[in-house]
């Protein structure tokens, strides 16, 4: 009863002063149950009913003395029961309105007397009597119970050998039974209610956010979570608060009230103590009543909210309904699932356990009413209770740790780009059936803790026989506290214990949660230290464990901070000096094995930028290059894997080239092992950005194996790596020729459909490079490659779009291909990609449009047919991305070839926009800008306008650039502009004549011509002026 009352019954908030039970259905149900129990007590247990309470239950009653009938001595204001205790005191004493009752018999009768008001009486009784069990059975009973050593009480009771005590104990049992019954009952009750869950809360908050902000019309000024971090179960409360069912905390600023700090929990929404200090700690204490949801709560707290809500109501409620309908189904389904690891779940399991124990004791009681049973049964009970408590403690501790970790994670700088997300901690469901392994492992851990080294080794060996790849076992080891012991063992001097422990850690650290736990328990520094051990097998095992653990950023950083990288690199060295005398010890592994484990660990670590750097500084590249010469596959995989990770860094690529690593990579492409092939291809992909490397790959005969690996499409990862390598290699023309020879292009076209995006990106990239050559363009068209390419234009992957647009653009150079593209509406698709938010895609699409416009029949008509297309292009000139600007200028150059279109873009204000761009140092942009300007001069008074917008002077400066293309384009633009007299003057003022005179001497005919034309225009103007002056 005590537990049920304390935990389940919903007490009103403390601020109401006296304790009061809220009138909720749950509480009423509990009261009903208690009443039924009490009422029937006198019949069911007549003996126990006579037992006199240690302290009377007292409360204020509304019952009139006149209600009492036979068996009572009734006066006007007092009632005494005729039943008295051994000292002659009445067991019921009423002195209006106070009543004292001292036995269950009297309680039963009292309730029968009370009839209709009994519910109120029972409520009053429970409200007034804190800890009724204590009062009934005495203080020692209750405190002992809290001590959980039921044994003691029983001992005490049995020693006394007093019939009264026997009854007392029975009574205790009965009350306990009632307690369980109540808890069960209330659980059933609770589970019937639809309660808040993270999804609902989140939707509510999102919706409210939608309607908050500054201004009078909004419902709130602001609403924000206190924490940005969301656990995978949707909660934002720290794990140790989630136990209490709390989901998240929200800071709400209504228009008319101070900021409210609100707790959203599974039970409902209430005000908490707010942020206590600057560090953002929240005072979790409940400070208000519980409301059923956030809106109800806010309506209560803020009048403005309620008012504005009703205004918004129509709009709001629609969305509200929509949002609410979906998740409403969810919670029921997820009843037992993770999101609600709230109190009910755990208490339920405890209840179940207790019930089992209880059932046992009940049974034995009936069978064997001697003294013996008490000891045995209660011992079991005692043990299980102890275990529960231990588990609770452990759970609590670890969870608070994980919370610290989360804070740490948030505060961490994100200098390292790649990271795996740290999965949130999933404790094993408290109510899940624990497998038998769990108990066996628990026993073994006990021996690990309490045994000397002999026992420890036996326990470790036995533990190793469990299926450690299975998550149940992995988590069981952790949950019974085995992880701490295993890590502690690493710190001892016992080589055997260390080896045994590492063998287990190595296996269980495949589990992401265990990895995190190992790091949290400070395992990494110890592991790193073991790398210095004289025993090679210890080194191996430690390195392998590190390889498993260092799969996430924090762990990798820890390895580096503790000097692990240098030590791991040193392990690689072992294979070289094999002249070392063999140790006769049992604990030695082969040198090659040590190096392999070292490489494995480095591979894991090399996913962080800083670690790559550390490996390089420790001289890792040379050693890796050395190991690459071996022929052991299991050595090569981690070595190539590490190299491949590191090749993302420029330093490494240079070293890889210098250390003749490419040769070995190519050699291993021919290996049988798919993983090895994959990593080799990946490494080549990373390195082939560099021209020399691409040539090296060809010279070492790497293109053929790459091409032949294309035919095996089952292993997508390898395919992605291989196509990547092909893409990068085909940047070199010579390589493309080779690929054509090996029929790789046909195969690539075949890979354009039904492949994952990673593969597609590379395939399309490779085709884009190949199509720079005429033969390949024809080949792609003949193989039917254009259709799938155009189809890919509707994708959303940015990298893929960049490559696809490039490939389509390359194909469009061929008029025949262009016809196909046009027929497939490819140009429209390209044009719409100009709206893509990503600048690279925009630029690439604009570049691709150029050949399309050049080669399409009726290009002008086609361009005009895109509604709003020309305006879109002109507006892209406002971009601040140089590549986009250059590409759009190029597109405008092509568009402007059509007079009508030129007129349209002039109307859209292309001239001022182009003029504004003139002040740039980017040669690519300069060239295309100059071309665009020279084209745009062809319409109306655009020449004059360019002059007005001061585009001429900067253009003159372009002539000082080093790029011949810029010279040509600029000279042509200047020639066009020089048709206007004012522009000629500007040019002359800016010293164009001298620069142009130099250009006339250029071997480039177009440039010569344009420069000469321009000079002649300037000269003619000068002559005309002179003439005018002297006549």
């Amino acid at each position: 009863m005590g537990v049920a009352l304390a935990r389940s019954a919903q007490w009103t908030a403390a601020r109401y002063g006296t304790r009061a039970l809220e009138t909720t259905p749950l509480n009423e149900a509990i009261l009903e149950e208690i009443m039924m129990f009490v009422e029937s007590f006198i019949y069911k247990h007549p003996q126990e009913a006579k037992y006199v309470f240690v302290e009377p239950l007292e409360w204020k009653t509304n019952l009139d003395p006149s209600a009492f009938e036979s068996g009572y001595i009734v006066s006007e204001t007092t009632v005494k029961s005729e039943e008295v205790d051994k000292d002659g005191q009445p067991l019921l004493f009423l002195s209006v309105p106070h009543i004292k009752i001292r036995s269950f018999g009297q309680l039963s009768r009292f309730l029968l007397t009370a009839k209709d008001t009994k519910l109120k009486e029972a409520q009053a009784c429970i409200e007034a009597n804190e800890g009724p069990v204590t009062k009934i059975l005495g203080l020692d009973y209750n405190t002992m119970k809290e001590d959980t050593s039921v044994v003691n009480i029983l001992d005490k009771i049995t020693k006394e050998e007093d019939p009264a005590s026997e009854i007392k104990m029975k009574l205790g049992k009965l009350l306990e039974q009632l307690d369980l019954h109540l808890l069960n009952h209330s659980l059933r009750h609770i589970s019937l209610e639809i309660r808040l869950n993270p999804t609902i809360v989140k939707n509510d908050i999102e919706l409210l956010k939608h309607f908050s902000g500054k201004g009078e019309q909004t419902v709130l000024e602001s609403i924000d979570y206190t924490s940005d971090y969301e656990f995978s179960n949707g909660c934002r409360a720290p794990p140790w608060r989630q136990i209490h069912g709390e989901i998240c905390y929200v800071l709400v600023k209504p228009h008319d009230v101070e900021t409210l700090c609100i707790t959203c929990s599974a039970e409902g929404v209430f005000l908490n103590g707010g942020k206590t200090n600057d560090e953002g700690e929240i005072n979790y204490e409940r400070k208000s009543e519980i409301y059923k949801d956030l809106v109800t709560f806010l309506k209560e707290k803020s009048a403005k909210f309620s008012e504005n809500m009703s205004k918004q109501d129509v709009r709001f409620s629609e969305e509200w309904k929509k949002e609410k309908e979906e998740p409403k189904e969810a919670p029921k389904k997820e009843e037992a699932a993770a999101p609600r690891k709230a109190l009910p779940a755990s208490s339920k399991s405890m209840l179940e356990k207790n019930q089992i124990n209880f059932g046992k004791s009940q049974m034995t009681k009936r069978l064997e009413p001697s003294l013996n049973w008490k000891a045995t049964i209660d011992f079991k009970e005692h043990k299980s209770l102890l275990r529960d408590i231990q588990e609770e403690k452990r759970g609590g501790r670890l969870e608070s740790k994980s919370a610290e970790k989360i804070e740490e994670m948030i505060s961490e700088s994100s200098s390292e780009s790649e990271e795996d997300e740290e999965p949130p901690d999933h404790r094993q469901e408290a109510n899940a059936d624990l497998p038998s392994e769990y108990w066996q492992i628990q026993k073994l851990v006990k021996y690990l803790k309490g045994g000397n080294q002999t026992a420890t080794v036996i326990a470790l060996c036995s533990m190793k026989d469990f299926n450690l790849a299975q998550e149940t076992c992995q988590l069981a080891i952790r949950d019974v506290g085995g992880l701490e012991v295993l890590i502690n063992l690493l710190d001892t001097d016992e080589v055997k214990c260390k080896i045994g422990s590492l063998k287990i850690l190595k296996e269980i650290s495949h589990n992401p949660q265990i990895r995190r736990n190992i790091v949290d328990l400070g395992g990494l520094p110890i592991l790193v230290n073991i790398l210095d051990s004289p025993h090679k097998s210890l080194k191996c095992l430690a390195a392998e464990t590190i390889a498993n653990v260092a799969k996430f950023r924090r762990a990798r950083r820890a390895v580096r901070r503790h000097g692990g990288i240098t030590k791991l690199v040193a392990l690689l060295d072992c294979a070289q000096n094999s002249g070392e005398p063999a140790q006769s010890s049992l604990y030695d592994a082969r040198d090659v094995e040590v190096a392999r484990c070292g490489a494995l660990a480095l591979w894991s670590c090399s996913k962080s930028y800083a670690n790559k750097e550390a490996i390089r500084r420790a001289g890792g590249i040379l050693l890796l290059a050395g190991l690459l010469k071996t022929s052991h596959e299991n050595m090569l995989i981690p070595v190539v894997g590490t190299l491949q990770e590191c090749a993302s860094e420029e330093n490494y690529r240079a070293a890889i080239k210098a250390e003749r690593i490419i040769e070995n990579l190519v050699k291993n492409l021919n290996s049988e092992n798919e993983q090895l092939q994959e990593h080799c291809a990946m490494a080549i992909y990373q390195c082939a950005e560099d021209k020399e490397t691409r040539d090296l790959v060809r010279l070492h005969g790497g293109l053929k194996p790459l091409a032949s690996l294309l035919n095996n499409t089952d292993n997508k990862e390898r395919l992605a790596a291989v196509t990547g390598a092909i893409w990068k290699c085909s940047i070199s023309k010579e390589n493309v020729t080779k690929f054509r020879e090996y029929k790789a292009i046909e195969t690539l076209v075949g890979l354009l459909t039904d492949q994952p995006e990673e593969v597609l990106v590379n395939v399309v990239g490779a085709l884009g490079e190949c199509c720079q050559e005429y033969e390949n363009r024809v080949l792609v068209r003949k193989c039917g490659g254009i259709q799938p390419l155009v189809n890919l234009l509707v994708g959303i992957n940015q990298t893929l779009l960049v490559n696809v647009t490039k490939a389509v653009g390359a194909c469009a150079v061929e008029p025949e291909s262009m016809m196909i593209i046009d027929r497939l509406d490819g140009v429209r698709l390209l044009w719409s990609l100009l709206k893509n938010p990503h600048p690279d895609v925009k630029a690439s699409a604009a570049w691709a449009l150029c050949p399309c416009i050049q080669n399409a029949k009726d290009a002008g008509e086609m361009v005009r047919s895109f509604v709003g297309g020309l305006e879109l292009v002109v507006n892209l000139l406002k971009s601040d991305n140089k590549e986009v600007l250059a590409s759009v200028c190029a597109a405008i150059t092509n568009i402007a070839k059509d007079q009508e279109n030129l007129a349209v873009i002039t109307d859209h204000g292309v001239v001022p926009l182009l003029s504004k761009l003139a002040n740039t140092n980017n040669d690519k942009l300069r060239r295309h800008l100059a071309e665009a300007i020279s084209r745009c001069c062809m319409w109306g008074r655009n020449r004059v306008t360019f002059g007005e917008y001061k585009a001429v002077a900067p253009l003159v400066r372009y002539l000082k650039s080093n790029d011949a293309n810029v010279h040509r384009a600029t000279a042509q633009a200047l020639y066009q502009l020089s048709e206007d007299a004012d522009n000629c003057i500007t040019m002359h003022e800016n010293g164009a004549v001298k620069l142009l005179l130099d250009m006339v001497g250029s071997p480039d005919q177009d440039l010569q011509e344009a420069a000469a034309g321009c000079i002649s225009n300037i000269r003619r103007l000068a002559l005309a002026t002179e003439k005018a002056r002297y006549t």
Binding site: L444, G450, T454, S462, V495, P534, L586
Partner: protein, 212 residues
């Protein structure tokens, strides 16, 4: 003992011992006589280390603590069962103790663990050897419960023919699967650290090895 005799002794022992070279044998012989003390050899009476002296060495030099295991190690050394380890038994024993192959060590360890020498390690023997391996927990109902359980765990792990006792075959198979089980019932070989210290000290300058 005169030099000639010593020379001869060294030669014979070196011939019979595959793990030590002549220099090492010489060092160990010197150590032996240092340990025994300058007792002149009486005709017919073999001199050697008696049980206590030997146990003292095991304890001081190799850090062994378990009385029973040390007794068994002594028996392992004392091949002729005459109650003392003579010089050839000393050399032979140490060759396995320090440098033995896995096979030799397995044989040696099994003999140590087979308390009654019947060729099997029985449950009772295991119990006896593991008796002190667990910390007594006050809450434990039966302090031997844990040990019994540990014996069962060991049997489950090592008793491949399920006859409730370990034959040498069982033991050998288990150790080959998991080398850690070599000294399953108690440390009877030097641990790597003391082992290295011992060799370093003895084979460097045996004359200074007086303080044991």
């Amino acid at each position: 003992m005169n030099r000639k005799k010593l020379q001869k002794l060294t030669d014979t022992l070196t011939k019979n011992c595959k793990h030590f070279n002549k220099f090492e044998v010489n060092c160990l012989i010197n150590l032996f006589y240092n340990l025994v003390g300058e007792v002149t050899e009486w005709q017919g009476i073999t001199i050697g280390l008696d049980r206590n002296a030997f146990r003292n060495i095991l304890h001081m030099t190799f850090g062994m603590t378990d009385d029973m295991i040390m007794d068994r190690v002594f028996r392992g050394f004392d091949k002729d069962n005459d109650g003392c380890v003579n010089v050839s038994e000393w050399i032979y024993g140490l060759s396995i103790f320090l440098r033995g192959t896995l096979e030799e060590k397995m044989k040696y360890c099994f003999e140590v663990f087979d308390l009654n020498g019947d060729g099997f390690i029985s449950k009772e023997e295991m119990f006896h050897m593991l008796k002190n391996s667990l910390l007594k927990q006050p809450s434990e109902e039966d302090p031997d419960e844990g040990i019994k359980d540990l014996v069962e765990i060991t049997l489950k792990k090592m008793d491949h023919d399920h006859d409730g006792k370990l034959s040498f075959t069982d033991y050998e198979q288990a150790v080959r699967e998991e080398t850690l089980l070599l000294e399953a019932f108690g440390p009877c070989l030097p641990d790597p650290k003391t082992h290295m210290e011992f060799e370093a000290q003895v084979f460097k300058d045996p004359n200074e090895f007086n303080d044991i």
